[in-house]
Symmetry: C2
Subunit: 471 residues, 2 copies
């Protein structure tokens, strides 16, 4: 206890008394997962205000062999940002590191601290007539440091890539408390190993991201959406290829929703006007963005979609005529998560597959699940353009969600086994944290895990960085 007391006093001397939270009631929001599914304990929650303070705190932990759980907005979905129940670790909250250090519109780059809220960065970019394209449901509260540590995805990946692809440089506090200034603003730099991409997606297990240089893009003025009914998933993939061929990178989103997803949205949000298309098992929301002459673009889209309709590539289609209509299409898509929550808990999967394998996977997986739980219902939606499905299983009509949830493990296993057979990923967007670490061992080769562990040992020899996560 004395050692802990001395440690906390040393923390206070670095970040001040306000920066060391030991009162359980004040710690609470840092220790529990935001959906209240899991609560951990901590020696203290430490809130440094700048990189030098982060460095001093980490050095102190290094010297005292005290574990560190870095935390951003605490919006993660795999328990990667909260401590375990031992109470031996500190939570290192990066939220006070929330300055935008620099924006260089000519170079299309912005330098931000780890604790910046994603939406703040989007807005700051917009104020300078630029687009920061990363966009996801929690953008009002997640931080860029968390986005980087989990390589967040979202709705703009088809055109702009994951968070990894949006990052030019990082500032890191290493596991022994040194500061690495890797804040390069370069599009090309072939001078040694790609340390940047090693820290991105490492879920805080290799070091602490304290700042980053992110890419900006020209704003896109016009967004036109098509809401499309398709016969099946094979048609969806063909339609994706068709639009990519016609519109290249101007195709900025290609989202899929099965009929049951839309049924849930209609039930939960009757005021939303879902386009009245011919009944079909799947619907597509495709978005095309451009700064070119909007009237001409609209004509091109109408023309191409008429061709698709005539060729039997799609069943029915409606094209938005203004930004309000486009936004209301997106609102439908983005209401699915909440609509299924209101319907009752279901068993979720965040998977990705080679796009060409999605139709066969879904057919086989639906069948396997029906064999195991007859009449279970699938809420299948997601970013088909990236091969990323949110493939969620709802209880059969006569079974309560709580009873159904008891089958989570075998159902996860059915889905993930098949994902593995199709060379897919059991975590497309959300990471591993502690939620999927046991399953990771089933699907990753021993050699790959061994290489990851060797790197972990090399960069964090005392194993103090976010212990128990990923491995």
């Amino acid at each position: 206890m004395d050692q802990h007391k001395r440690f906390l006093e040393a923390c206070v001397s670095i970040v001040g008394a306000n920066g060391v939270i030991t009162d359980p009631s004040l710690q609470e929001s840092f220790l529990r997962e935001w959906r209240r599914r899991k609560v951990g304990r901590a020696l203290a929650v430490i809130c440094p205000s700048n990189t030098e303070e982060v460095s001093s705190i980490v050095r102190l932990c290094h010297e005292n062999h005290i574990s560190i759980v870095p935390q951003g907005g605490n919006t993660g979905l795999v328990y990667g940002g909260i401590p375990d129940e031992s109470g031996n670790a500190i939570v290192l909250s990066l939220r006070k590191l929330n300055r935008i250090r620099e924006i260089d519109p000519q170079n299309n780059a912005i330098t931000v601290e780890a604790g910046c809220i994603l939406q703040t960065i989007q807005e700051h970019a917009a104020d300078h007539d630029r687009l920061f394209p990363l966009s996801l449901a929690s953008e009002g509260s997640c931080t860029i440091g968390g986005n980087l540590s989990t390589n967040a995805g979202g709705t703009a990946v088809l055109r702009y890539g994951n968070t990894r692809e949006l990052c030019l440089g990082l500032e890191i506090v290493t596991a022994d408390g040194r500061i690495w200034n890797g804040l390069k603003q370069l599009r090309k730099d072939n001078t040694g190993y790609d340390l940047r991409d090693l820290f991105i997606g490492a879920e805080g297990t290799l070091g602490v991201i304290t700042a980053a240089v992110m890419k900006l893009f020209p704003k896109t003025k016009h967004q036109i959406c098509a809401f499309v009914a398709v016969e099946d998933l094979s048609q969806s993939v063909q339609f994706l290829n068709f639009l990519q061929q016609r519109f290249n990178e101007n195709l900025t989103a290609f989202e899929i929703m099965n009929a049951f997803s839309l049924e849930l949205v209609a039930r939960a949000f009757p005021h939303l006007q879902i386009p009245q298309l011919q009944k079909s098992p799947f619907y597509i929301l495709a978005e095309i963005s451009s700064n070119a002459d909007v009237a001409h673009l609209n004509g091109e889209i109408e023309n191409e979609l008429s061709q698709a309709l005539e060729a039997g590539l799609v069943i029915d289609v409606v094209v938005t005529q203004n930004i309000n209509q486009a936004q209301s299409c997106w609102q439908i898509r983005e209401s699915i998560s909440e609509a299924q929550a209101r319907h009752g808990k279901n068993i979720k999967h965040d998977i990705s597959l080679p796009i060409s394998s999605v139709p066969d996977f879904v057919e086989q997986c639906d069948q396997a699940l029906q064999r195991y739980v007859p009449k279970c219902r699938l809420v299948t939606f997601g970013h088909l353009g990236d091969g990323n499905l949110h493939y969620n299983v709802s209880a059969p009509p006569e079974v309560t969600p709580d009873d159904f949830l008891k089958q989570q493990k075998p159902i996860n296993h059915i889905v993930h086994q098949l994902v593995h057979q199709f060379n897919g990923s059991i975590s497309a967007e959300h990471g591993i944290g502690t939620l999927k670490k046991e399953e990771l061992r089933l699907y990753k080769s021993e050699l790959e895990i061994e290489m990851m562990q060797q790197i972990k040992k090399a960069l964090d020899p005392f194993q103090i960085m976010n212990p128990g996560k990923i491995f």
Copy 2:
């Protein structure tokens, strides 16, 4: 000697007698740098035919502590693919691993072995109505394994990224001879550390890339080029921003050439028709690509460029009217390297900078060089859209190139010091190899080099993978 003899016999038992080259005359093309600037020696050149053979050879080297220099097309520019003069290493040629294993046009992915020639991959993609966008001068002889190991750049980076951004998965033989199958065909996969990007750009110092999954794209039908005269580099950067704002990702190239570059081209290749624009210090070749209605696109480009001209953003401009004219613009740009070679050797730099810093850097660097070597002449050209300049210094009129080359070291130092001050990179595209490893120590932080060395030690504990390169 006996040990070496036994080792070579074991190699023969793995790859056959034809796969073990010990005859010096047959070894020669594997041992010398292609411009004949450097020649190494090797115990043998080993040519396996498949991944299993690579694995067996590497395991043998691991057991015998024999160094391995992986080699692709041997077209590198920094001596990264040839052995040193000790004669203790083997050259591991990957050229026989030249199968295209799979192409999946629906998933826009192609799986290729490391020894595939870049142009072969481009052609195979085109046969399937797809684009593999990586494009560089040596594409007829370089291999994809080499492209990946050096993270090659080229002319399509502005739109499609470096080789790193084009890769979805890798197959690796580790330093102890095990095979890691990381041949994922996924756009999203957040399941642990990004090992793929660690091996990419590692110049063969961490393991051997034996195969890769690369991204494909829809073909672009129309390429329209603008050849533009600009007043100075500030105007060039503003003009880049202007085109990005108007055409987003349809702007597929933005290349700069100073007046002296074009003068050399005109002298060396009088048959090339260089567009007759108003005299100016810099010229831009901008390319816009699209599958949209080409007549409309042409109109838009003409319209936007007229506006740029009226606003004084550019001095003079000509827009190509057909694919032949566009190709002839590119021929001018691509003739610069050969034109300067015919003019006489010069001192080359492959640098990158934040795009907004390019004007100040070039102004200050030109001045510093004039102070050091009055009347030296700059051949400044390159991928301004990526902030990547080929900034080459030619002898003053009265000095012979050979005399001038004696000043290579101090001139490199002047340029790279200033690059460092502007937070640029001393190797944008070409890598480190042995050519730049001493300079790397001047400009990389000790901490970054230490982290790189820790990773090297973790993945290659006997230090047999391409020793002496990078470090």
